[in-house]
Each structure stands twice: as structure tokens, then as C-alpha cells.
Symmetry: C2
Subunit: 114 residues, 2 copies
DNA sequence: GATATAGTTTGCCAATTGGCAAACTATTGT
DNA sequence: ACAATAGTTTGCCAATTGGCAAACTATATC
């Protein structure tokens, strides 16, 4: 499970940047080569490539080079993993507050009853 | 370099650290003061306090000082926001692959039919 | 009033991040 | 053969991060 922790570290870190999230958003519309992905941004290609590397080592995207063009695509497993962790945490919290709400409600009923 | 940091940037950054995620996990079991939260970790209090500050500026936790003790608790709205973004992205992806799967399936049927 | 407790601030440091410019390595097109 | 295209590598820099030790503030407790 220590491995999963590090995976989460890397995935969340990858997501903690608007450029990288935008790339993910773009890739959701379909695979694209590096320069097309880089088009919307003002930064240079080297800087952009670093973002791509971060995304790829996080497992959020994959890429494949054919001739001189590298095509990138989404790999949603890691996205699901991050979402899963968040959902799990929120579920715990939700359960707790639900039980708290139920308790408050029951106290309310008792007050009314007495 | 004044980067306008969106809430998502800050939240995901806050989540991209095992110590901070552990703190969240601990707080899901109920509110706790700083030193109790810090107990499981080997780092010193100043370092731990930095993590708490990151969590608090992200909006993932709130805290309140009473006397000499600061009590921290979870605030799940931001957690839900992050989860929402992820769910949205995955839904887009899922929809796309679902349509793709349907397409492949339909092609399959046509092949079988011909 | 003295002392322990809980947290905070300050100063410092190494490692990482995010960006640039420039040079370089393929491939593809003419 | 030569030039344009697509991407990569290298070297550099400023800002940020994550940690420490030490000094400090404020509140309980004896």
C-alpha cells in the first residue's frame, strides 16, 4: 500500500497545475501530437515537454512515437484511482456527518418527547 | 511570476503529500488539536505546521484556537470540488470510450452480418 | 510566581519545480 | 541534397517546498 501512496502523490501533483489539467481536458477529446497540445500555451516547447513528462510518469497519459511525431492519449485508470481516494474520504466524512445528523435528530425527538 | 492560482491548483497540491492526506484521514475520525495530529509523524512541529497551513489555505480543513489549543476539523466542500472535477473528466472519457465501444460493437455486428 | 504545555515565529538549508534559450537529432517534404 | 518540421537535450536561473534548530508567546497548572 506504500506504493499506492506514492502513486497518489504523483497523480495529485500532476493534477495540481492548470496547464496539465488543460492538457488532460484536451486529450479527452481525442489523442493529439505534442505540438498541437502545446499550441494553446505561451510557454516554450521544452517547458511544455516537462509538463507532459510529469503527466506521463503519473500514468495519466500515455504516448507513442511514430516517425517524428509523438501521439499522446489519456489513460483514465489513474484518474479513477485519484477519484476513488477522494470519494472514499468523502464517504467516510459523509457517513460521519450523516450519523451526527441522525443523532442530533434523535436528540431533538427526545427533547420534544420529554 | 504572479500565477493566479485557482482553487483546484491549491487543493490538488495540498493532496499531493502523504502527510497531508494522512492528516485528512485522521480528521475524518473527528476534530483534533495540532499536537495530537502531529504525533504519528517523525518531523518536528514547525515542519508539521507548514503542512497544516497548506491544508488550511486550501480550504480542506478549518481550525479554531481556544486558549492555547488549536482544534482542527475537516471541511469537505473542497474535497467534493476536487472529486467533482475528477468525476467530470472521467465521465467525459467514459462517455467517449462507451461510444467507441458501441461503435466497435456495431462494426462487429456488421462484420458478422456480412 | 514558577514551570510545564501548546503552539508560533525566525533563520537557515538542500532539493525540487517551472521556466527560458540554444543547440541537437531525427524524420518528412521538395 | 537540402530545407522544413517535430521533438529532444542541455545548461542555466528564480522561486518554491520541506525540513531542521532555536528562540519566543501565550495559557494552564502546581
Amino acid at each position: 500500500m506504500a506504493n499506492q501512496q506514492t502513486a497518489l502523490d504523483i497523480v495529485f501533483h500532476a493534477l495540481a497545475d492548470p496547464t496539465r489539467r488543460a492538457v488532460i481536458g484536451r486529450l479527452l477529446q481525442g489523442a493529439a501530437p505534442v505540438t498541437r497540445l502545446a499550441e494553446p500555451f505561451t510557454m516554450g516547447l521544452p517547458a511544455f515537454l516537462k509538463h507532459l513528462t510529469v503527466l506521463e510518469t503519473s500514468g495519466l497519459i500515455r504516448s507513442e512515437k511514430q516517425g517524428r511525431v509523438r501521439t499522446c492519449r489519456i489513460d483514465a485508470d489513474r484518474l479513477a484511482a485519484a477519484e476513488g481516494w477522494l470519494a472514499e474520504q468523502r464517504a467516510i466524512w459523509q457517513g460521519r456527518t450523516d450519523r451526527l445528523a441522525a443523532f442530533v435528530e434523535s436528540q431533538n425527538s427526545q427533547e420534544k418527547a420529554s
